[in-house]
Amino acid sequence: MFKKFKLYPFLIALALIPFLNSCSSDDDDDTPTAVETQEKYTVWLQIGSWPNTTQYVLATNSLTEGSIDLTGHGAEVTGKSAYGIITKGGFYYYYNTTTGRFSKFKYEKELYSTVLEVPYTHLADVSGFTWINETTLFVVGTNGDQNKMQYSVIDTETLKMTNGVLDAPAIPTGFSYYNLGNIEYTNGKVFVQFGYSSDWPNPWQNKAYIGVVDYTTLKYDKTLSSTTSAGPGTNKLWLSSSFVDESGNTYFATNVENSNLSVKQSAIYRIKKGTTELDASYNVNQATLGYQGVGLWYIGDTKAIYKYIDPAITGSTHIYAFAVMDLETGKIIRKLSEIPNDGDAYIQNIIVEDGKVYMITNAETGKDYVYIYDIAAQTVKTGMEMIGGYDWVLRLDKMK
């Protein structure tokens, strides 16, 4: 009797839930329940030998302990999106060039689902992206012939876009293409790093450029250049090498690994807060760094993780090592030798949270872990284990 009495109101309430939900969802897109069930972090993994390689995304709520295993878990992403992808606020944004769509995905509770997608063909590909605010994405790329610098401003709620062409300097004689990469937004300006290239295997032009674009007018203002190093840096879809620090200074690194230049020189450039010039007093290059760099991530307090080519390694593809560098001095202050060398440069593998850096790498031997670098203590320890012998650990993302 007592049980029945309790059950009735419960059942009525249960029956009403769908109605309540459907009433509220009309005027409120952001249902709080959906956000709460999403896991905190995601890892992208690849398994299988060619041609049966498959990529998966898998979630976890803790990177510090425990393990994850793909067996029966995670969602296939192969065919939906590549691991070169944009993420913010729990969503992924991806331009599928083969189908001509710009898509918004969400990974939650073992499913990688499409939230919204629209036809999109304005860019040949996304060569770089930056966030103007929480819901405005600025992407750059070239046209199909790679001889125009183009952009789209995307409202990530509706995927409505404003498309245009940037009036960048013409391609110099002897070169055929724009190469775009690093892009940062700060203080009303969009900085776009670029270079010029020709048909493979001809080398790049041995010069790096940064175009300054006024965001309000979307006009290309001017071009900064340097011959210390060359090229556009990297595409943050795959690998970071630029950022704006907490004091508003912008840093741009170069990556000349695939430049085919006979002499490859790395450099890091700085644009001080409020200016639109390269900081002439800032001379950070291969001589100060000691190594040829491929990637750069800001971890706070003028420190950054520097991913570089370790020339001591021969006979292996695992040549990419990690170190902590001081942005002020341009010197490596601690090599992260506890973290195995990575087998690929283009892995978006670092997140920073609460004074700790969480990193993944593709080790040549041994188990796969999330490595945790404590910024203050300067210590490295292993966190969550990725069980199972995966070919590639492709990226690590913070969802919320």
């Binding site: 299988g48 296939e76 001509g100 036809p119 040549e364």
Partner: protein
Amino acid sequence: MQPGKFLLSIFLISLLFLGVAAHAQTPIIISGTVQDEDGSTLPGVSVTLKGTSTGTQTDSEGFYKLNISKPGNYTLTISSVGHVTQSKAVTLKSGQHLKSGFTLKSDTKNIDEVTVHGKTETQEVREQAFTVNAIETKRFANTTSDLNQVLNKTAGIRVREEGGVGSDFNFSINGLSGKAVKFFLDGVPLELMGSTMSLNNIPVNLAERMEVYKGVVPVSLGSDALGGAVNIITNQNINNYLDASYSIGSFNTHRLALNGQYSTAKGLIVKASAFANYSDNNYIMRGMEIWDEAQYKYVNKDFRRFHDQYKSAMGQLELGVINKKWADVFFLGFSYSGTDQDIQTGTRQDVVYGAVTKNGHAYNGSLRYKKDNLFIKGLNANVFASRSVDNYVVTDTSSYKYYWDGSRVKTSLAEISGTKTITNINRPRTFARANVGYQLSPVHSFNINYTYDHLKNETYDELLSDRADIPGILSKNIIGAAYQQNLLKDRLTNTLFGKFYGLSVQQSRYVSASGEYAKANDSQTYQGYGIASRFKILPDLGVKASFEKAYRLQEVGEMFGNGYTVIANLDLKPESSKNVNIGAFYGFTMNKHKLFIEGSWFYRNANDFIYAVVYKSNSSVSRYENTSKVKVNGLEGDIKYNYGDLLYFNTNISYQNAINNTKYSVGTTSGIPEATYLNKIPNQPWLFGNADLSIGRNNILGKASRMQFNLSTQYVHWFYLTWEAYGSKASKSTIPDQYVHNASISNSWNNGRYNLSLECRNFTNNLAFDNFRLQKPGRAFSVKMRYFLR
């Protein structure tokens, strides 16, 4: 003139010529049908002219035909085990065509002693020691099938098509596919006829029968066939004949086929074969996503394919002599083949192309010679030589992105790879084959086969260059030797064989440091070997077992790359496999009932599969590597049943379990096995079956006519696109179950001379997928008219 029109003209002219010629002949001919008391036709019955060396056997329809050179009085003897032998005196005059049918009485006494009956050639092939599918194509002659569709109905074979007529396909034998399977036409590589000649466009009427060797391949097909080989055998009959057909069907599909032979009284023979295919392939794609701006979302709609036109044509003419003192067979031949094809989709149907085209043409000149009892009795020689030029072009220069409704958006990008290309591939090729067989005694026989294959591969992008800077040259020398023993009165047959593979590759390589080209050479040798045995426990019950260590040699591009985007790998090994088959067959004949059952277990342990590997995730450079190992275990069974010529039923089922045997992936020396080690290979059908039913009656629509109704069903069990164990079940992509049912009705008049058939493929209009998100055609109708003169 377009190749299609050109071929059509040739076809029609040849048709006229051969038609007239076939009627104009004047040699003496005796022909007729042999049947038993119940009216069922009798295949394999021996028909001889007493006192002469002239003789033949009845074909699968009980038909025989003898060409006689001199007029005179003869005795015709008709004999078949299990039947009472009959003789008939005949007087033959010059130019006479005598028609003489026979009805043989059962010899009960004979049957009591031993149940032996006439066996067709295909049945004899099935009973040999090798595991082989022998398919008589006559049953399909009145259908619109191409060879792929016929082979796809047999055990252990799975053809995965990407679309309609002429679409790309993947052919697998017992779980091994792609370059592991080699195709032959009368024992020589089909590729010699050009890359445009393929199983998906050769009409069934051009083949007399087909043999599919599974895993273990006889030395006479001298090739590096890792997983098996398909040998298409054309009509080798020395009699004049003409087989001409035309069909028209759904999606504006037209097919023409011509095949014929004419011999002069002096023994000069002209053989001609030709075909032409045309299709718009504009079948409906169901539920395609298309953007709806008003609703601001993608919606699903049905659309017709709009860029999938396919044209192909082939013509071959052979001139030669037979039964000369110096040659049993000597022919010179010339062939042309061409295709012109639009490409509609990428590897998935949501990647829509609207301008990509592929076209090619090939020329081939050949010589073949055969002489039995050369120098000494029992020494038989067979030589083939050919020179061919094969060219094809893939044009991808569109600046637009296309959608299923046919609309397009300017992108200034090409459709396939983004970069505009006109890829030209030229492949001049010289091929020679010599085969010598020696029958020492009824017990011992030997066979030696040598093939020489020289292929130049020139690939270049017409937009960048007008020639290939770094052509690759590949030569293969393959020697095979076999010894066969027939023991215990032919009940036990053992074939031991060895194969020697000599490979030599040459290519200039771009040296990026100096900017020059350096010549690179390499040569390698490999040895394969095998054994095939068959033991007949009873005359119609046998067991067989075979084994081969087989290879698939490296290609030039795989070893040397192209110098810049594909880098060289001189350490590349050939793909190799250890293949085992164990099987049994049983035949049973009682009165009109005829049953044949066969089943086998197969095992493949394949290593070093070669695939291009992209080293760095975002790099433009790749390299061919020996990436993976696969182990396949499987079972297949086939049952054939006939009741006289009234009913035919065939069903087969194949199961294969392919396991990834790659412990560590390329580039890792890690002690932890790769996650997918010992997992089932994904994206591969593993359970499939077929059923075929024919019912036929004679003389329904007039005397000497036959009406036949065919029903066939194909089933493929659903399978995962990716690794079964990984990822949540809800997120996994699958290729759904496939049921395709076909029906046809045909009638032939005048003993098979005039034929008319109606066919409906996929009559239930089921959605059919061989590949993930690549819809195949729905319901399709066709009408076929065929004229067959013999």
